[in-house]
Amino acid sequence: MVSTLLVSQLVILGLMYGLLYGVLALGLNIVWGVMRVVNIAHGDFVMVGSYTSYWAFVLAGINPIISLLLTIPLGFALGTATYLSLVKRVQGSEELMSLFLTFGLSTLIGGLLLFLYSPTQRAIPIYLGNLAYLGLSIPVNILIASVYAIIVALGLRIFFTRTFWGKAIRAVIDDKISAMLVGINPSMVSLLTFGIGIAIACSVGSIIMLLESVSPVSGPDLTLISFVIVVLGGLGNPAGALVGGVLLGVVESVSSIAVNAAVTPAIGFIILFIVLIVRPQGIMGSR
């Protein structure tokens, strides 16, 4: 009954969406993993990126892909400023404190966006069509999103393995005390990490504008799905976020053959429960 072609189509769609899920969760993952800061405002920073891209398009006709050049530095600046002014003060205390702080931040950003831009759903009408290949249909918008996810993942990998600060961040994840003993400044590492985390979040906001419409209250949904992916993939392992994202994307997509679409949002949590029972540290996580 179910054709191989349809299953392949669904796997490919799931893979592409999964990569986007992965890069969505990447920023949250490194912030949580390195700084032990639970960033509830993650999705709201994504929305800041989305709205920046939206207005760049409306006011100057800038394509969301080009506006990455705007949202990445904006995100980094926003991230470092937030770290220096707020996050720094709760870092080192209980994780609950950072949760309170970022929850407040989330409410503040969501409220500000609502105040500035009204609750109207915003979308950028760019439709790039689809590539037809061997009977498969590959939407170009999603393809771009997944290619961007791969570029970010590779870029981060190079950063973490080839640069001093990348290695310093990894050292702090492994053992903060030893890292300090060899002269790594943990505040600098935190500053950099939060900046990069928020820069990725904002840039994903631009990419999301290629796929869907957003409103100021879309942020918390993105935060929730990011948390599921981070826990799925394993805390503090950037590759884990991608693996968790792809797993979620493919299962959601392929399961649509068997289950009603109304059940789809629950699938992420079902996978999460299974992973937590079988492998509590996450797929790529280490104890």
Binding site: S3, L6, L10, Y127, N130, E212, A262, T264
Partner: protein
């Protein structure tokens, strides 16, 4: 020691006495304030307060704003004409709308309606959408306050035995019936239909009614699923629909998900002969957001600007016809009204008429009056059954054709022929049958042309659709 004991006792006695005195003062003052403040109430209020929440943020914000704007326009019109005459009070009273943003959230609705009741509102108007209306209904019922529904269409609202909930719009079960009739009249007639509805009370009540009706008309249902409205991607399901050989997609729920379906269909390159979605395509933003992708999409509609019911009697309201409502709304808000705005305004008219005819501000009396009402407004017929469900009003089918929303069914009020197959607009349009319902056969043809340029420019001013010009974010 003894004196100290007595001293302490004396203090405590004094304290008790003081407390008693304070209590007496509080009670007396309370009774005095209560009696004096309730006095003007018995002699008659100076304003008719109407309480409601609207989804002004969250997933239903776009629909909620349209509805609120419709109601505000009604209130403005009533007050500028001197208010509503209430015969039992011997005077006309202005109306005052008290509204809160419920964030598209049922829990907020429940809290806010309880709050509105304690504020002593005279009447309640339901929030937009069925789930939110269902959240408000039990509170209105418990306090015996009339709740008028303008945007909650689910049949389930009127299946719970509520006495105080009255619907102004056609219920969900009626939505897709004219679409099936329209498809049935096409030549060649499509055979394969895919159903893909939202998993909410409204969409489910639409689906429950259209399924057996489509089967009875000889259509084959090749796909049948429901989805969560909050989902942001439907590509897996739409890929499956494409693989089933469906010619027509019928489904949807509200605005955001409807747009997502269209975006996803386009990104997958799926070609269907016709798409008919609930709610979303009726909103002018649908065209602004989707541009050419909107072309050919149809929507069951509660109201379109070309409808003119002024020949029917008794006719009520200062709005002569759909065209006049359209123009008034456009000049007030700078955007074309959709049916949500019209049904909200009409809800105000229904309340107005029932207050005038009953001469009372008592919910029970006004509710009784509504049972015997049978009249027309610019929005159409009003008549309810014993449960409060609307049975007078009828639906039409609209379709986007080259940037203009045309009424395509029933043929007696149609401003254009159906574009079918919609994915191939160059092909000749099909021949329509002449069947039509009794109400519409009496209606005059009054085509309202809403040219794309006009609609688009209106949208540009309000919603900053890209034009290359520099506009300020709002």
């Amino acid at each position: 020691m003894t004196s100290r004991f007595f001293f302490r006792r004396a203090i405590s006695t004094a304290a008790v006495a003081a407390i008693v005195v304070v209590l007496v003062i509080v009670v007396v003052a309370g009774v005095y304030i209560y009696t004096t403040s309730s006095k003007p109430k018995t002699s008659g209020p100076s304003v008719i307060t109407i309480g409601m929440t609207m989804p002004l943020s969250g997933s239903l914000a776009s629909d909620g704003q349209m509805s609120l704007d419709g109601l505000k326009m009604w209130a403005q019109d009533v007050n500028s004409s001197g208010g509503i005459p209430v015969s039992s009070l011997g005077k006309s009273l202005p109306v005052k709308l008290i509204y809160y943003d419920d964030g598209s959230n049922t829990q907020t609705v429940a809290t806010d309606y309880a709050q509105l009741v304690t504020q002593g509102v005279n009447f309640l108007i339901a929030p937009y959408s069925s789930p939110l209306t269902l959240a408000a209904a039990p509170i209105a019922e418990a306090h015996h306050i009339l709740l008028l529904s303008h945007g909650g269409a689910s049949d389930s609202i009127w299946a719970k035995g509520y006495q105080y909930v009255v619907g102004v719009l056609s219920p969900g079960s009626q939505y897709m019936i004219p679409v099936i009739d329209m498809l049935n009249s096409l030549n060649p007639k499509p055979t394969n239909i895919a159903f893909f509805f939202g998993n909410d009370p409204f969409s489910l009540s639409v689906m429950k009614a259209v399924e057996p009706y489509a089967l009875s008309k000889g259509f084959k249902i090749v796909f049948n699923q429901t989805y969560q409205e909050s989902a942001t991607d439907f590509t897996p399901q739409l890929s499956q629909i494409a693989s089933t050989g469906a010619q027509v997609l019928i489904g949807g729920a509200h605005f955001v998900d409807g747009e997502t379906i269209m975006r996803n269909l386009n990104s997958l390159g799926v070609k269907l002969d016709l798409v008919s979605l609930l709610v979303a395509p009726d909103d002018p933003h649908f065209l602004a957001d989707l541009g050419p992708l909107a072309n050919g999409v149809t929507v069951p509609s509660q109201w379109e600007p070309n409808l003119d019911f002024s020949k029917f009697s008794p006719y009520f309201g200062n709005i002569a016809n759909g065209q006049q409502f359209y123009n008034r709304f456009m000049s007030l808000y700078g955007i074309a009204p959709n049916y949500e705005a019209a049904e909200a305004y009409a809800t105000g008219l229904v309340l107005e008429k029932a207050i005038i005819d009953s001469g009372s501000l008592n919910s029970t009396v006004v509710r009784q009056q509504l049972s015997s009402e049978n009249f027309y407004t610019f929005y159409g017929h009003f008549q309810i059954d014993s449960t409060g469900k609307q049975i007078g009003h009828t639906m039409v089918v609209a379709q986007w054709q080259n940037g203009t929303k045309q009424t395509i069914w029933p043929s007696s009020v149609a401003t254009a022929q159906p574009l079918y197959p919609a994915s191939l607009p160059s092909q000749p349009v099909s021949v329509m049958s002449q069947s039509s319902s009794s109400v519409f056969s009496q209606l005059s043809m009054n085509p309202v042309s809403i040219p794309y340029q006009q609609t688009a420019s209106a949208l540009v001013t309000t919603y900053q659709v890209p034009t290359g010009q520099s506009t300020k974010p709002s």
